[in-house]
Amino acid sequence: MDGVRVDAVERVFRGRRGAEVVALRGMDLRAAPGEIVAVVGASGCGKSTLLELICGLQQPDAGSVTADPAVLMPQRDLLLPWASALDNAALALRARGVGAGAAREQARPLFERFGLRGFEDERPAALSGGMRQRVAFVRTLLAGKPVLALDEPFAALDALTRQEMQGWLGRALADEPRTVVLVTHDVEEAIVLGDRVVVMSPRPGRAVAELAVDLPRPRHRTDAAVVALRERAMDALGAVV
């Protein structure tokens, strides 16, 4: 188990008419096994590219990425509208060839544990945004991979639901520890959830600052220590924007 190691990675996209867009340049990132690393940065700084590199969906143009098997939880829940909540979560198992019945039986206990009991048979259209993200998270867990790459999982939610879901995710990860790389543009979210916060520069993205969050859990965005750290992180972000 080596968690995640991203070393001096460069990733260049060729736009139309041959213009080059450097998404990442000299990007370094470490996540020890079991560690929650929150990556913050402005929109378009290459955060999603970073996660796709970690998940093996893209290859770096320079540098290296070594990571334990990783699964992506995208910003949109991407639940299949025709499948029940339970079947949507079980999709992670079906994708690997587990039969329908066995996949459901494996997914069911996670519904109990993560506050989804009673919603197993609902279609995604009948679920609230927060519930849909819970189902998406259970699907991510069921992929059975040691590394979770979470791409702004709560960005599409309203502010109240987002706070509630941050608390929920913190407890879920305490319950089901994994190596996590959490990408977000919400500094508070990064501090509430992360063991460590990495600040990225605008494009071309690279890590420019790092803050250890040695605070007891559960944390709240109103805790004095969280607020103080938030100021430091905002300063770091402000310095690079």
Binding site: E52, C55, G56, L57, A70, V71, L72, P74, R76, D77, L78, L79, L80, P81, W82, A83, L91, A92, R94, A95, R96, G97, E112, R113, F114, G115, R117, G118, F119, E122, R123, P124, A125, A126, L127, S128, G129, G130, M131, R132, A143, A149, A156, L157, D158, L160, T161, E164, G167, W168, R171, A172, D175
Partner: protein, 286 residues
Amino acid sequence: MSETRGPAEEPLRTGGVHANPNARMPTLPTLPTVIGWASALLILLALFGAWELYADFGPVDPLLLPAPHDVAQALYEDRALLWENFTVTAGEVLLGVVVAGAAGFACAIALHLSLALRRSVYPLLVASQTIPIVLIAPLLVAWLGFGIAPKLVIIALVSFFPIVVTTLDALARVDSETIKLLRTLDAPRLRVLRHVELPAALPGLFSGAKVAIAVAVIGAVFAEYAGSSSGLGNLIQTAIPNLKTERAFAAVMILSAFAIALFGLLTLAERLFVPWAHNPPGGNTR
């Protein structure tokens, strides 16, 4: 649903997030629906009224355009004959659309999976639609005889194309992010097809079948014209030289009503089997 959950057994449970209670409300006919039906009826009455007036007082020979009341009379008097021939044509159309649906769906998937096929075969499919049926119908009769086989081929030929196009479009609209997600879940290509793309293609199949029904009915008439011993197309063909124009029109009425009924049935089946296609696509938050 939420009341079945115990209060203290789940440390991760939090309140405040509930399913939308209105999500499964049955839809009752609303005032606009009633107005819609009423105006449809009015338009129909106006059309028949205008036709009646024109046929009775206009300059056209009733052998070319019979009045609606003559057609209604033919519908009643020839009902046994019409019904007998209707069952033949209806069977051809139903079987032809089913064959076209299966072949079109399979063809769309093959085209979706292979870029090379899409590049080479898709234009040929488009070209095949420009061949006038009247040209190949006699050829098919010469090859396949006077039985149901050439009719099925013709009906399937005309219905096949809309089904391929709409199914292929539905397949192409599958969210690329979802495909990416399935890849990080280690799904091989065929499992992506089975769990994501096939269900997503079903609404396309239904749209295509709805278009196909109308052309399938026309196809059946052409096919029977080219060589047959029964069916409403055959009836039309024999009624006209016998100066029984109202019987031919009665047959057309039945064909129209049949197409409308099939269309309605398909719309019902669509609501039943692909209800999600009528909701906003996944990913919305409330």
